[in-house]
């Protein structure tokens, strides 16, 4: 089927069928944040357990969604687990800039500032499997699916930071 393979790469389907880090963490001590895609009704719940050193000691993903949102969440959880909050934020910026071709075309307000921290840590935080989601950019309505869990993670980390300060 034309074009579909660009979107539904095998690794995406693999994460969709066997999502990593799926489930819940007891909150508290973990932090729980919900995200919604108002377009399609998808919901994602991100649980993060941040240790004393600012490291994401554990992360679990719950909720319902399409293959793109579920696989993106699964890959995200695998990529940030065990990393520091700063590293997770840097990876989020890198991922979102991959997903924001459209916004950059329009003028990229703010995207550059966001992309900066990524440069510092790209050595440790490579997109890896997440590169497979690059094809989503060709299907603009699906970009929100791919970024839902990342926005929810960002919100969760912000909330954790606020609670600690």
């Amino acid at each position: 089927m034309s074009g579909l393979e660009d979107l539904y790469r095998e690794i995406i389907l693999d994460h969709y069928r066997s999502p990593r880090n799926r489930g819940e963490l007891e909150a508290p001590p973990a932090h729980r944040t919900e995200g919604f895609n108002p377009l399609c009704g998808d919901e994602v719940v991100v649980y993060v357990m941040v240790d004393g050193e600012g490291r994401i000691a554990d992360i679990k993903i719950n909720g319902q969604g399409c293959s793109i949102s579920q696989s993106s969440a699964s890959m995200m959880s695998a990529a940030v687990k065990g990393h520091t909050i700063d590293e997770a934020r840097a990876l989020t910026a890198t991922f979102k800039s991959m997903m924001s071709i459209h916004e950059q075309d329009i003028g990229g307000d703010g995207t550059e500032a966001e992309a900066d921290p990524a440069d510092d840590v790209t050595a440790e935080m490579k997109l890896g499997d997440l590169e497979a989601l690059r094809g989503v950019v060709k299907f603009p309505v699906r970009i929100k699916c791919a970024t839902l869990s990342w926005n929810t993670l960002t919100q969760a980390l912000d909330e954790v930071a606020t609670a600690r300060s």
Binding site: S2, L7, L39, C40, G41, D42, Q64, C66, S67, R142
Partner: protein, 420 residues
Amino acid sequence: MTTTPPSPPLATLDVAAIRRDFPVLSQRQDGHRLVFLDSAASSQHPRQVLDAMTSFYETSYANVHRGVYQLAERATAAYEGARGKVARFIGAPSSNEVVFTKNATEAINLVAGSWGRANLGPGDAVVLTLMEHHANIVPWQMLAAQLGFEIRWVPLTDDGHLDLTDLDRLLDGAKLFAFTAMSNVLGTLNPVARLTAAAHEKGALALVDACQWVPHLPTDVVAMGADFVAFSAHKMLGPSGIGVLWARAELLEAMPPFLGGGGMILNVTTEGFVADAPPGRFEAGTPPIAEAVGLAAAVDYLTGLGMDAVHRHEVELTGYALRTLRAEVGDALTIYGPSEPSERGGVLSIALEGVHAHDISQVLDTQAVCIRPGHHCAKPLMRVLGAPATARASIYVYNDTDDIDALAAALVAARDFFKL
């Protein structure tokens, strides 16, 4: 109702001829025939509607109710003529009971902001159902937050009908019962006259969201027993940008204005204003003029087909779709809503085991099959169904069995692509 064309008593539609009237349907997408199954969201337009609007713009456009030159008079006559056509189409006793709005959403907001604000307060109740579109939920929630009345919900049965067991108790002390005539997710056709009678028995008014009814079945607002009826032109072959609120004349007479501005006043001084009579009172600002002309042409087109024939066609095609999809796609398929075609309109909300609605739609798009994934602006209903999203296929006058066959084939392709 409007007169049906001279045709044998049980004729349905000549879909091949109808399709030739719809320019958009003649295009091909990636070599496939375009299969448009999203009319519940918004329908396509026959040449007759497009021509009527173009010709109006080319010969008769001007602002209405203002100028004395001939062009302005023609524009006003066309606009008011459209009001009359709509009134006859829905069995309204008077065209003064037809208020043009932007869409059904605005029509319901008008009732909430005008009648609701004047008549509701603490201790009152508005009764809704769990199958409402957000358009018939959020305006009431917004108003309830300001005025402090209670919102009560009519639950659903397992097969997607309203559960009326407790209706009388729910209506006790209520001032308004606002419900959809047909669910835009389940396709369920509600017993409108019975529901409005139940409301009246308890002293409540009845608002009927007829967005999915007026385009598909003969409509008679008096036989419905409704006090308010709302619908949109863009779901009945007309243009976007215009909707209708019908309300009983006495109600409109007593209602305060909704939006303020030009066109809705008799007089304005520095001290205040005097509002015009209905329907002008509720049409502040320049209205959707060419859109009204387009709506009138859509009404003519549907009248020509005959609304009985339209409904028969949809019941037949829905029955065909239910049988074909079940046979072709098999056990992985769930179709929500009533299983009996005569109890439902042509809306099929589908779930495919292990394949999210978004992914179904994406695969279907590669076969030029246009359906809609999502919550269909009915999140409380989706919660009852236990599904965050469904894939919705909806049919109209231009759909035929080839469209359903293409849908079935595309669903099989989606099922096999994901091989879950």
